[in-house]
Each structure stands twice: as structure tokens, then as C-alpha cells.
Symmetry: D2
Subunit: 349 residues, 4 copies
């Protein structure tokens, strides 16, 4: 931490800062410049937070130097992690050595539609099934998902296809029932800062997929992962899904740079959701190519057997030719980047 | 709703759109232009949403024309509303005719600190006490609030000062206990799209203060209010608290325009939180002046008897001279704009 | 300046940084922390820029501590400045003690329309006339202004009304002719970073109104003012006109916080343009109130005798009742904030 | 164009809109809904702009339906274009069938540094040399480029290496001299809306590379290209270089989605600048991979023989191993996407 004094700060004010830092066991190095004095702090950063240094007289600014996250950082865990998803005997990897395709319907509507979408996903090379039973919707008048009935349909679809299931949980009160049916719990973009929910999924004993808040910085996103990790669960996969910007041509702006930025600072796997980022079917394949090429550990897309009748996000769901093109991309591109197909590395022991 | 066909759409594709609209009981008016055809839809807009018009062949775009909110709209409720906060016999108004100052500590720390802050608030003219017992924090290592003990301190402080209490609830599971102790439930910026929480506070029987999500559009904010209203609770006060922009000089950018924009489309009262918007004590008074002048129905600020030792957001808490200046502003400015002091309109019947 | 070394930086890498800093005559204070080493630099900051410290091995980050602007800073010029606009014998102040209303048509269309708008402006209390002869337009097919003919109309209108004229210059090649006809040169939002133009107006011998780039940080805006000042012209008035955000309800988001932020760091006057920020006539009066209340040194608005036929930005131009309301606000509100009417302080010597 | 009337608009107000539209030769189709009336306009859209429909009584909103650009649109020019850069006898393509690497130093400093950087670029597979002689800098105290001397160095480097030269022009007054020395004129991000400059390069007879304004929408960017095209120059290459968002981990956020969005609506080639987007050397290679994979027609990067001593943007310049990695990516990835190396398609006739 660095404390920057204002140009007119007095020696007493500088001494007061030093004194407060030393009172909590820290060290303070004073550098007097021509115009300003700066003070470098050494010691336990958490103890400094309680000092409210920014409120002290003469202080102009306080810069944090270290990253605020610990458990998810590469600093003490330099190897990138692999998260395994699925029941014992059929665990699919998401990590640095493989490429994983996750696909399925935005919302579970009927057993037939879900099974058809799962078959589509599987034929395109997906090894994990996504599908929403609890849907957070901007309007209270929009379809809110089938709830527990949707979870049952997802579980039945897993039985029929062998695909482990990823589904969203939107309320801490539902974590237990979702964890009972699903193989991986998704925390959505609107709930990234729902700290009670993060703590609840951290204790649920299943891997977690944590979507980036549509307006969260990468640091805030990693702090949200830290909330999960702090409850003992390090099986967290991050999912970039676009951020809110001024550009109206796409629903959100896919921040592909976030993938290498995260990989440089955190050991957690990171995947990309081009469907929700763009909100346009015609961009899903090009953005999937970009995601694979930038180094994402996986891609998650919406598919629907009949987008025209989809109850949620039909305009972005892939079908027919677009899905075949995506399948081709997912087969050809990852090997060029040195990644194996996750399907060939399922843990069946 | 207006459907815009792409320039190369065929007559069959236009006919297909018309057919789908009529199948759900709507009317479709076709306007053939030189380059494009546009189709105006008339009828029940909710039934059109399920048509996924955007996925139909030949459709380039779909524009929504009407506002998606109903209960909170001025369309069928043209008078602006007043929300009354407090126990029977001491209800403080927030509405179009008065100006209400809400003040108190960001976080409840001790009975003494809370009482001192409440006395400061009261001496500055505040008629409602704010204070946090459950604190959503970006870091799991930061102070998370005293929880139920904090609620008890707030209730005791109300006994001592007579000020009704506004406090945040961050988890649907806590709504009952918070509603038991507080006079108004606050939903914070990070939870604006936590739909389960919105529904729970909608059923709690207490007025709600709904902060704008720091990256929510005004329409999304009003839709969040609609979630509360839909559960039968129209006693919602909106609170603008700054939005996330590229400007780093302030923590967020206070969007004062949101006040008249909301007032033009919704009957709900709207107040402003300059403390959290700016994150800087020196801006709280000027931004409070701007908020009053633009037409806000109230202002909510952080005060702390000793900002240097505050456990949360010390740098933005007012004390001493700044608080006196705020008090002077709140006395002098609202009358120029035709507003009475809420203190003179407490409902004591 | 503070150099933050990465956690695994070696002693040699630290020594290399120190060496480079000392080679250009600076001093380097090394603080070794538990995890990282930080190095505080003291000396001539401009010489440090050429060192490319960020590229040196072992360097994680470099934080600038001081403000990069000099001539426009309050650091060595703590009194806030007043800029005087107009010919000798009729100079209107824009500064900390007065409130100045600038008004006129967005675009000069005809002598009659310009004169009518100027009379409207004058009757509302404006002491300076704004009007565009050179118009920067997003579309090459939109009305681009009357050019030199427009300047002549403005000059004739000044003769008729006595109001000094503010008009935009969009091209460095036009600075001379604009300076010949106008009393103040406006640099528009799209040209805030047109450095050649900034230098040209810096040498033109007339006061400058510098609008904030719609996506410029406050620091970048002050650096643009520094470009003008560096050419010997300190008569610069800053104008906040809204920044680009994700909110679609207004054309831009008026950043009222920018006013006190600028006033805290720069001695230059700062005014507000609510017309272009909002792009909506119904918000101009409330936002003008907010601008005055937050402490702006003036407000600039669009007026038009017949908005329906305006060739540019008709939807935001004030007329009739709205203009009378604005006049009333400009009379009543500034005195509450301790400001005199600029009309009473015109320098006529 | 669609005019949306407010819910309380009268029949007279509707009739008034229709009348105004018909007065300029347009047709107006009225659709009366349950709540609102909407009016679809058919005819010459430019004539409607002058009507100021938004200011008419009873009008709530006006939606534009068609794209505002014409010459750069694919609507009447459905084949994507190739732009050829270089002197007769050595013209390098940028277009849909090839992949073009442009590389060179951010700023021209000396003949030796420029030649060394050009050799690096060439060895990495670049077929066009970039280099800045006129540098727009945020600070008036930063290195502003060598000007005409820099142009001469670039021309000499072209002699030595055979690489055609791309260089930025920042002022309309410099267009002639830059066009004399360079093979392609670059308009930088800060000048994207400098309409006088756009018109000047449109008349200079050389291909133009138009960078996206860092806060410009894709539509505004295409309108800027329309300004160039309108002066008779359709040899415009668009360059995505990152947009300003709230994320601080990268200097700007590279908007890879812009590539397929532009390609869907405009026939102009589009390339990507990952160096300026990220501002970090470690992201240049991953973002180049993403750019190629998403479908960019080329990539432009900064290289420097000695980044530590670079006078401009040293932290993002590639050297040694990173450059070799980029070269390998540019060799292996484009063929997977069906693109040939531009080097194999130089036009030498």
C-alpha cells in the first residue's frame, strides 16, 4: 500500500500516518519528493484497511499495490487448475490441457425439447449439458423457469444421454435442491455479487460456474470467486459472458482480453459464453472461434431444436447449419492451440 | 411493437409474421417502404413476446414501443405518490411535496457510535435514520456487519431518538427478521436484480427503498420496482446512487438526470445518495445541492461521529463543519423549489 | 511516481530500476515489503517518462502520483480565475463570483432566426450569445452550417443586441477567420483531443470555451486545456456537456460531479451545457437547476424561435414557457449560492 | 422511420405529423394501437430529418429504421472489398481472401531504429510497415513525433526494405505532405470525428486506414468512413483498436465482435490493432490469435528493437520471442480459416 500525501501536508500529518501504521504492527517508509511525500506501507494489508488512512488529515490518496484475492490467486498456486464435473465414474475436465464444449437450451421447457437439445449438443461434441430451470428475468411477467420440475427433467436427460448437467441457482434457499440434481452449479451474471448465494454454493459440495457480472471488473469477479473458495470450494470455473458498454450492436461486448488476464493472475479455469454476450445467432460461431483462439478452456452455447418457439433467448440459440459449423470449429481449432478434446479425457475411475 | 423486415425479405416472410401475430389475437399493419417493409403490431404485448419474432426468417429487428412496466408507471396513476415511513403515530413522508433528509452511519458498529451518529443526523435535520446491519462487501475478508445484533441496536436507537429506521437486507432469508426491527427495507445496488429478494421484500409489509443497480438502466430499475409492486407492495422509494462509467475521479458518476426521467414516467418517489456515488466527503455537499435542485424527494447521506475509525466507507462520512453545511443547504434550498420540510408533515394520527 | 515490482523480482532488477532513475538525476527510495518491493521516485517526472520503467524486467506496475497538468492546475495558482469575454468596453465575466447565462441557436440559419433567438436569449437574462456557423455533424449528409456567412450573421447580431458572441471552430484552418468575427472560440466535444486545433486556438488571442470530450476523463480534459494554455492562452472556460454511458434515456449523462472536481484541482472556470447532455427539452430546466446548485460558473443552452423548423438539434431547444422558467431559475437560484448576476458585473472600462 | 405518438396524443396531432410528412413527398402509414398510435414513414429519409418530427406536439419518440450510411454499406455493394496498398508494381492486398500483417514502431525516432524495426517486422511476415511521424499525445509535454523528418525516414526505410508505408496524419494541413511520402494515410482514434480531416484524406488519392474512435459506436465509425467515401475515396480499411469501458486491467477493451458486425453491414475490410487495445505486451499475441480467428482481414502491431528506450508506448511493443510467437501464429492460423498470406498475393503488374 502506498499513501500519497497532499502537496501541503505538514510533517505532523506525515508523522501521524506513520504512527497509525506502526500501531497495528506495520512498517512505513517515507519518501519526501519535491512536491509531495509518499509513504510505502509494509505488513499485513488487512490490518491497514481498518485504519481508514484516506480520512486522515493531509492524505490525498491511497493506492493498493497487491491483489486483494488470495485463494484463487496464482501467487501461491502457480499451476493452473482443472475442475472435474460429473458423477464419480464420468467426470469431464475443464482446464488448461483440454477444450470443453458445454451446450444446451437456455431454458428447460419440456422433457422432449430438453432431450432434443441435449442430443443436438452431444452431436456437436458437447460433453456437458447446460439448461436453465430457475431463470432470472428482467420482467416479472416473463417466463421464470420450471423450477424443481426443470431440475427433474435435466436429471432425466442426464440419464438418457450421459451428459453431466450444469444449471443456474438464483436463490440461496434453492442451493440444496439444485445441488441434489445437478453436477455443477451456475451463478449467473446478475448474482455475481449476491454474497449470500456465493457462500451457499461454496458449501454445497459441487463445482461452481461463476459468470462475470455484466458490469464487474475482473478484480471484482475474482473476489466473488474468493467468496466461494473461502467456504472451502476451489472447484470454480469462471465464465466471461460480455460486459456492458455503450455499443448497441451487440447485447453486451465480449471481453476476450479477460481470458488471458484471468489466466495470468488466477489458477482457475475460464470459459466463454458467446451466446449471451452477443445476443445474436450470427455472431456465436465467430465469437466461439475468437474464444478458443484467445485461450479459453471451454465455450458454452445455447442450442434449441426450434428457436422460433423457445421461451427464452430464442434469437441467440443455434440450430442446424450454425451448430454444425460450431462443431467443426471445436474439432479443428483447439488442436492448433495445443489442446485435447475433453471427451478424450473423461475420468472414468 | 414494430417489426422491421430486412431489405431482401420476401412477401412470404412478411405474410408469415402477420400470420403469427394474428394467431395470438393481435393486429399487424404492414407499411411497405422503398427499401424495407415495417409491420406495426397492435394488441397484448405480452403475448407477442412469446412469438420470438426476432428469430423469424426475414426479420431484421424488433422495436418495443411501450414501456414494459405497469404498476409503477404514471400511465394509469398520473399523480406522483408519497410513501410514509415509520410506526403508526410517527410516519415520515417521502414524496413530491416535501424534502426528506435520511442520515446515519454506513455500518452499525456499537450502540454508542450508532446513537452518536443518530444525534448528529437529527441535529442536521434528518427525519429518518439509516444504518447497516447486514453489509454486502466486495471482499469476504472485510467487515460484514453485526447482523441481528445490529438490528437490535438500530431499534434501540429509534427508541432513544424517535427516528424511524431504514436498513439494508441482503438475503431473502433475512427479510422477516429485518422487517421485524426496521421501518423501511433497503435493497442495495448489488441486489437490484436479485429477483427472489425483490419478491420477498414485496411481501414483507414494510416500505422499500430500492437503490439503482450501479450499472442498471432506468428501465431495468423500474422493472425491479415492478417486481416488488407485483407482490402487492407499492410503497417503493427509488434511490439514485451513481452509475459505473469510465471516469475515475469519483467512485461512480451520480446520474442526476435520472431524477426527472423517473418522475416523468413513474409515480414513485425518488431520492439521491451522494455519499456512495462520489465516495469522497468533499463532494457530498455540492452533490446534495444538485440533487435537491434537480427535484429529488430526499437525500440520504453517511454520517459518522469519528470517520477515522469507521469500519466501512469512512472516507465519505460527513462530520462537523460539512454536516452543518449540509444542514444549512437542506433548510434553505428546498423552499426555493417549493418543497416543505418533511419534519413539518410527520403523520401522527 | 511509484514503481511496484512483481513478487518474484530479483535484487538485480530492483537495482537496475534505481540505476536508471539516478541516471536521469532522480532519487529512488526502496521499500521492501513481505511480498513485494516498491520504489518511490523523487525528481523531475517528465524525465522519468522517457525511462519506460514499465518495460524493465521485474516491474509489475508504475503509478503516477502527481497531476500531469501544470499551467491550469491550482497548485501554483490557487485563486480561481475569471475569464472576461467581449470587446473592450463590454466584457462579460465567467468566474467564481458571478453566474453567467449563455444562450442562442444551435445553428445559425438566417439573420432573422439568429436575431430572434438572440432577443429570446437576452430577455431570459443571457449576457453572451452562442450560435454555430461551422457544425460538426455525424453524417456527411446533414446540414454542416453556413460557415463564414454564419460568422457574419453572428457579428451583425452582436451589433444589434450588444451580446458578445461565442462560436465553434472545427478546423485549425478556420481559426483566424473565426477569431476575427467572434469574441470567444468554442472547441467542441468531438475536437477536444484535436491537438492541432487546441494549439491554434491557443495562439488566436481570444478566450476559449473547451467542451469536455463526451468520453474524456476529467484529467484528459484538463490536459487538453493545458495544450491551449501552453500556447500562452490561459483564458479557457471548461464546459461539461455530458459523458457517454450505457443509459439510453438521455443522449449523454450529465456529470455534475465534474464541476466540483474540476474546481478542486484547476483554477479555470467551468460551466455546464444541459441541452446537449440531455438532448431533451424537458430536462433542460431541471439540469440547469442542478448545474447552478452544484456550483457551475455558468450555463449554456440552446434556444430557437421555432424549434419545429430548426436545422439542428430542434428537440432540445427551449422556447416560450420553458425559457421563462429557465430565466426565473437563473434569477432566483444563484443568489442563494452567493453568486451575483454577470450582467451586473460587465467590465465597461 | 417510425414515429411513436404519446398515449394521450390527439387525432389532430396525428394528422399534423402525416401532413408534414406528405408535404415533403413522403407517405405515412398510421397504425392505431390500444394504447398508442404509431406512424410508419416511407420515402426519402434525408428529407424527413429536416422535419424535426421529435419536436411536434404529441410525438413521444422517433425510431430510425434504415442504416444512415450508403457508400460504405453492403446494401448496394454486397461483395466485400479488397484495398490495395503500395506503389504501382508492389501493391499489398487487405481484403476477404488474404491475411495481412502490418508492423512497425509506434513512433519513428531515428533512421537506424526505424530500419531495425522494419527488418523485425519483415522477418515476422509483415508486408506493410507502420510508423508514426506525427504523434497525437495526451500531454503537450510528451514527444510529438519527428514530423516531416519522420516521413523522410519512413520513405527511406521503404526504399531499403520494399515495404509500403502506413502513417498517421493528425491535421488537415499536413495531408498533402503525408500523402507525398506514405502509401496509406492513417486517421487515428482521436481524430475519427475530425470531419475536416476525413474530407481532406478523402481527396488525397491514397488509401486510408480509419481507426475506430475509442468511444465511437460502430455506426458512428461507418459514418466517419462515409465522410471519406463521399469525397470519392472508397479505399478505406477500418481498424478496431479497443473501446473505452470500465475495466481497468487493459488500457481499452478490444471489441472483437465489431469485426463480424462490420463485415455484415459494410463491404470495407477491417483489421485489428491489439497493441493499442491492450497496452500490455503479454496480451498482444493472444489478442492477435482472437482477431485472426474472429475473421479480421489483418492485424497491426507495434514492434521496437529496444522497447526499453522507445519514445512512445514502449510497454506494448513486441520484440524477440513474443514477435517470433506472433509470426508463428500468423503463419498457422489464417489457413485454418481459409485465408492466404497477403505476401503471396502482392500485385506486381
Amino acid at each position: 500500500m502506498v499513501v500519497v500525501m497532499s502537496p501541503d501536508a505538514t510533517d505532523e500529518e506525515v508523522a501521524h500516518v506513520v504512527e497509525r501504521v506502526e500501531a497495528v504492527g506495520g512498517e512505513a517508509f517515507v519518501s519526501k519528493g519535491l512536491v509531495r511525500t509518499i509513504i510505502g506501507l509494509v505488513g499485513d494489508i488487512d490490518s491497514f484497511h481498518h485504519l481508514n488512512l484516506r480520512t486522515l488529515p493531509g492524505v490525498a490518496d491511497v493506492h493498493r499495490i497487491s491483489d486483494p484475492y488470495k485463494l484463487v490467486s496464482r501467487q501461491h498456486h502457480s499451476e493452473r487448475s482443472t475442475v472435474w464435473v460429473g458423477p464419480a465414474g464420468h467426470q469431464v475436465p475443464i482446464g488448461p490441457d483440454t477444450f470443453t464444449l458445454l451446450a444446451g437450451p437456455c431454458a428447460v421447457e419440456t422433457p422432449e425439447q430438453t432431450l432434443a437439445a441435449a442430443r443436438m449438443a452431444q452431436s456437436a461434441g458437447a460433453t456437458l449439458l447446460r439448461g436453465g430451470a430457475f431463470k432470472p428475468r428482467t420482467s416479472p411477467y416473463a417466463f421464470q423457469g420450471l423450477g424443481v420440475r426443470g431440475l427433474e427433467i435435466l436429471a432425466a436427460t442426464r440419464e438418457a444421454t450421459g451428459l453431466p448437467v450444469v444449471t443456474e441457482v438464483v436463490d440461496a434457499r434453492d442451493v440444496a435442491v439444485v445441488a441434489e440434481h445437478a453436477d455443477m452449479l451456475q451463478v449467473g451474471t446478475r448474482n455475481m455479487a449476491n454474497f449470500g448465494l456465493l457462500q451457499a454454493v461454496g458449501e454445497a459440495g459441487k463445482p461452481v460456474m461463476l459468470k462475470r457480472g455484466m458490469t464487474a471488473t475482473i478484480e471484482e469477479w475474482l473476489m466473488a470467486a474468493e467468496y466461494v473458495a473461502q467456504r472451502g470450494n476451489l472447484d470454480v470455473v469462471l465464465c466471461e459472458r460480455g460486459i456492458r458498454t455503450f455499443e448497441p450492436a451487440t447485447r453486451n461486448t465480449l471481453d476476450v482480453s479477460a481470458v488471458p488476464v484471468v489466466q495470468a493472475t488466477s489458477h482457475l479455469p475460464v470459459i466463454v459464453d458467446p451466446s449471451h454476450a452477443a445476443g445474436r445467432k450470427d455472431l456465436v460461431v465467430p465469437l466461439s472461434r475468437a474464444a478458443i483462439a484467445v485461450g479459453a478452456d471451454g465455450v458454452i452455447v445455447d442450442v434449441h431444436p426450434d428457436p422460433e418457439t423457445a421461451l427464452c433467448d430464442g434469437p441467440q440459440a443455434l440450430d442446424g447449419p450454425a451448430l454444425r459449423e460450431l462443431a467443426s470449429v471445436c474439432r479443428r481449432l483447439p488442436p492448433v492451440l495445443g489442446r485435447a478434446d475433453a471427451a478424450d479425457h473423461v475420468r472414468r475411475g
